[in-house]
């Protein structure tokens, strides 16, 4: 049952040793979690390359850097800043699993931007005193969401489309409005919890929506991580960290909701 090659160094008393464990867990993530996900992702992109039926050809909602750049200017908040790069934009509608991938990437981009805004606001002293654990949480989670976005985009790019580098435009106004009201760590945590809940529900929904086994694996490898983010946020907010025996689909986004 013990994970192979896992160093289970127990936490010690000092902060330095706590940090050591964190690095150990990070190494574990690279040793174990990443290869498993990359294997699924590699299989998926290979399927895309070898059989483009149902993935590449379509028309309708355009996903591509140029379009994302055009859509990403609806607000003054940095959350809405879209940095699409349109070199590979095909102008074709992403369908099937790739449409889900585009939606997921846009959600991840939104999360990265939102956590980035929190860090910026914290550095500017706009959130009051920020406990060290909260700062670590925000930094680490932001990095994980960036990795999620990168994973989805690797499949999109493999299919010949431009990476989705902007946030989910349908949610941007809501997030901007909410963030404008955030004045402390508690408010930031509540907003983050909303985003994590939406992301987790979306991935749970995606597990049933995608068709390729490899894309199911990618979605399934991310949903529990978003749920873990939510658990810690609930804990920080003084709420029970595992409130549901079955994770809900409340707030799940679908490809039909996607606006680039």
């Amino acid at each position: 049952m013990k994970r192979r090659n896992r160093t289970t160094t127990p936490m010690a008393i000092t902060e330095a040793e706590l940090s050591t464990l964190t690095r150990d867990l990070d190494a574990l993530h690279h040793d174990v979690g990443m290869p498993a996900m990359h294997e699924a992702l590699g299989r998926w992109t290979e399927e895309i390359r070898t059989s483009r039926r149902g993935f590449l050809i379509g028309a309708g909602a355009v996903v591509g850097g140029a379009v994302l750049a055009a859509c990403g200017t609806s607000s003054s908040s940095s959350t809405t800043t879209s940095t699409g790069g349109g070199a590979r934009s095909t102008g074709a509608k992403l369908t099937g699993d790739l449409a889900v991938a585009a939606l997921a990437a846009s959600l991840e981009n939104l999360a990265v931007a939102a956590y980035g805004d929190v860090l910026t606001a914290a550095a500017a002293g706009k959130l009051g005193t920020v406990p060290p654990a909260v700062a670590t949480f925000v930094t680490t989670v932001k990095g994980q969401h960036a990795q999620h976005a990168q994973a989805w985009n690797s499949a999109i790019v493999a299919a010949g489309h431009a990476a989705v580098t902007g946030p989910d435009q349908a949610l941007v106004p809501t997030v901007d409005t909410a963030f404008a009201k955030v004045t402390d760590v508690t408010g930031a945590a509540k907003l983050a919890l909303t985003l994590e809940d939406i992301a987790a529900a979306t991935y749970q929904s995606a597990v049933a929506a995608v068709t390729a086994s490899s894309s199911v694996k990618v979605a399934a490898s991310i949903q529990p991580v978003e749920m873990q983010h939510a658990a810690i946020l609930n804990f920080v907010l003084g709420q029970y960290p595992v409130p549901n025996a079955f994770s809900p689909l409340t707030g799940a986004r679908t490809p039909a909701d996607y606006r680039g």
């Binding site: 979690g33 990443m34 399934a220 804990f235 409130p243 025996a245």
Partner: protein
């Protein structure tokens, strides 16, 4: 607690909209009956085991003074009880193996086997948490109230998972699994002698939760039945959350800061590294996933 209604009513936010909830409710009620019977049988076997080991426990306690004797006897009884639960469960598995070799038990479909294995993991989780609550430092007066509440709630959530998985098994025409995963039962059994304080119990629970979550992540891609896949997807993240909480608790215990295991927490007092200890991987691994047939009835 917000979870799918078990009485056939559709909740406001339906996690499994394709489910026939009336039929599901009936199946789950049947499953609960089976579960109650199984737990009752396990409890009976457990009592027998405690009685059988009584003399050695009393002998050990007899070497202490009166007050210490009572305390040690109680502690020894609890240790035996905890181990006994697993041993009793293992006995049931042995009996099950004999029954499963009968021609009446044909090989089930892959989906049924996956779901039976999931149920077997839940059986073990329920048994482990139930017995853990009998330990004074988990469920007794000396327990951290947050840890006690977590164990109590988590046990209940695993019961609901067990019912749901077995309902899915029977919906597909299989037989409900009411015995623990045999391989994991051995892991628990091996851990029993060392369960002398909160930390080893948390470590054991973490191992079970991580294994369950990884199994369900793997199962989600392996299942062909859409409803079963949705169900499993709705459980995997919850087990991951259990693991997350246990990672955090484990870290605070190891840091000799049990006072920080509180709800609401003293966020300002938490060490910086505690902010990321609950989610060590950006992508949930599956290398500890249990084989899909491990807990299946044959």
């Amino acid at each position: 607690m917000d979870h799918p209604q078990l009485d056939g009513r559709i909740p406001a936010h339906d996690p499994m909209p394709d489910l026939d909830r009336t039929a599901m409710a009936l199946l789950m009620e049947e499953s609960r009956d089976v579960h109650r019977d199984a737990m009752s049988a396990t409890a009976g076997a457990l009592d027998d085991l405690v009685d059988a080991t009584g003399p050695s426990v009393q002998e050990a306690a007899g070497r202490a003074g009166p007050a210490e004797s009572v305390a040690r006897r109680e502690a020894a009884r609890r240790r035996v009880t905890f181990g006994g639960g697993i041993l009793a469960a293992a006995g049931v598995v042995a009996a099950l193996d004999a029954v499963a070799s009968s021609p009446a038990f044909a090989a089930s479909s892959p989906d049924i086997q996956i779901l039976q294995t999931a149920a077997s993991i839940e059986v073990l989780a329920v048994a482990t948490y139930t017995t853990a609550l009998t330990l004074p430092f988990i469920g007794g007066a000396s327990a951290n109230p947050v840890v006690k509440a977590f164990v109590t709630t988590t046990m209940q959530q695993h019961k609901e998972h067990l019912s749901a998985f077995n309902a899915a098994v029977t919906r597909l025409g299989g037989t409900a699994q009411t015995n623990p995963d045999p391989a994991l039962a051995k892991v628990v059994q091996a851990a029993v002698p060392g369960l002398t304080g909160p930390a080893p119990v948390v470590a054991l629970a973490l191992e079970l939760e991580q294994g369950a979550a990884e199994t369900y992540v793997a199962d989600t891609a392996a299942l062909s039945d859409a409803t079963s896949r949705k169900l499993t997807a709705s459980v995997m993240g919850v087990e991951a959350q259990h693991a997350s909480v246990l990672l955090a608790v484990q870290a605070l215990l190891a840091a000799d800061a049990p006072q920080l295991i509180a709800l609401p927490p003293d966020v300002t007092g938490l060490p910086a590294a505690a902010g990321s200890v609950g989610f060590p991987a950006a992508f949930f691994p599956t290398d500890m996933a249990r084989p899909s047939t491990e807990g299946a009835l044959r």
